[in-house]
């Protein structure tokens, strides 16, 4: 697939959703064919999530906000939150559950916030306060997994129970990259390295281990 300008893509129910210049498109993963145009957008930066009938995205030109519209293009864009703190130097993480959309304010003095899926009527709610450059999120049932930096370029993974999300010590340290973790029904999978990793050192060869941890007893084997 040739795409002129896209920043990430999201997958949902056999479809991949992406931005190409001023519009969103979907494409069947299993039955390749022409891409289907969805809603047109202004100043969209990043496709974030697909949830139910809606597509969520980030805009970050003059103002930074999370917005949504029906993926079939039948609604105008709505603002979900306009108090998003976004750095273009880091990955921006989003996750949804049945009621809320969660995101990483991925700046140096960062945090994790949430709004109802229909949008916040005022300020967004703080889920985890003051984290160094959080970038990646996953929700598994009522558990929120979130990555952040312990030190420059040293990535840690923590977990908390929603909705309260009491902050705890990192579950895994020295991830090889901000998004180097995944979940299935039984396990958490992580890629870790004993070496220092830095996105600014592309020549360094990183030796990584992929480990899996039972979700019920998550201590490194």
């Amino acid at each position: 697939l040739a795409v002129l300008a896209t920043d990430g893509a999201v997958f949902d129910d056999g479809q991949v959703y992406f931005r190409d210049q001023g519009a969103f498109y979907s494409l069947s993963v299993l039955q390749p064919g022409p891409r289907q145009p969805l809603t047109r957008v202004v100043n969209a930066t990043l496709v974030l999530a697909v949830r139910d009938a809606y597509l969520y995205w980030l805009t970050s030109n003059t103002e930074t906000s999370i917005r949504r519209a029906r993926r079939d293009g039948s609604s105008v864009a709505e603002t979900i939150s306009d108090d998003v703190r976004f750095s273009s130097f880091h990955d921006f993480g989003v996750a949804t559950d049945a009621t809320s959309i969660y995101w990483t304010n991925n700046v140096l003095a960062g945090s994790i916030h949430r709004c109802p899926l229909v949008g916040c009527s005022g300020a967004s709610e703080v889920v985890v306060a003051l984290l160094r450059t959080p970038q990646s999120l996953l929700i598994d049932g009522s558990e929120l997994y979130y990555q952040h930096e312990a030190k420059p370029d040293e990535y840690s993974l923590s977990r908390c129970s929603l909705p309260a999300c009491a902050q705890s010590s990192p579950l895994v340290e020295q991830l090889t990259a901000p998004g180097a973790f995944a979940l299935d029904a039984q396990y958490l999978y992580v890629a870790t390295s004993e070496q220092a990793v830095s996105p600014y050192n592309e020549e360094q060869e990183i030796v990584a281990r992929i480990r899996r941890l039972p979700k019920t007893n998550q201590e490194l084997p």
Partner: protein
Amino acid sequence: VTHHNLSLVSLCLCYVAGCAGRDVDLDHRAPASSAPMGSDQAVVFAEEGLAGVWVDDRRLYWLTRFGTFQSCVKTDCEQTRLSYAKGNHEQAVAIAIANGHVYWTLDLLSVFSCAAEGCETEPAMVVKDPGLRAQIYAHQDHVYWSSDVDFYRCPASGCAATPEIAVSDAIPYLPVFDDARVYWHSGAAIMSAPADGSGLPELVFEWDPSLKWGIGDLSVAGGFLYWRSDRHAFRCAIASCNTSAPTLLVTWDLPVYNLTIDASAIYWRGGVTDNRPADTIYTCPLERCEQPTALTPPRLATPVGVKESSTFAIDATEVYWLDLGDDQWLSRRAKTIRKTAK
């Protein structure tokens, strides 16, 4: 600038700045002065590619275009020279100095610090922030910088896991500090906030948005804020900036740059004619600027972005500047730091 044009400018400025009753008559051009060119302009230091000069009570600091950052004791520069950072290629480096600490950036990404009297072992890495926006600033024992969306600070010894948020949702450019507060301008307004992040920003002064030239080069001293706007310099009392018109301090023939204040005088960098590539340093008494004095020959290096961030500096008695010499006008590369009495 013709006398007629200057009068029009004056009328406009009086309209916004409320000149009536003040002791500055804008309809009379401040006469050009003869500089004390014959006075002592000693060479303090000489090296290829000088890009910045700073001074405090005890030391003189300089930066080269290649990223070498050094200092010496002012009274014996030859014997007391020390290095904080040694560069090896042409690069932009931001510098900040305060309260016995020096700070510099590497690759405009990381901030390092040392004691001004020399690094004990290795420089301390204060922070690594890809969002760092070119400049750093120092006040008391902290270094400050604008990042992606906030104005951060950290102690000289280094940040904790996260920096302190000095001002949230603000990206001040060239902020200045008094004891407890930081001030910055957005071109059309001056804002302030507690420097330790303990309070919200407040509007201090609002400039007339219809004016062609905005606010530049903010300074703070003695309860007053000073700034330049094109060919003029103004001040207002911080306590009443927003309730009374600012005072016009200077009207000059050419744009005023790098406005600097001490207890009794105002200093700025400016051209001698419209088309000369090098500038001089002018000064005037704070209370009444009728006849600015040129302190240096018109050989002051002009800054080029961060690479040449500070081309003159003042201490209690003297002004130090990057001197282009007589043969460096085309290359604009200063090779000497000179000083002269204020």
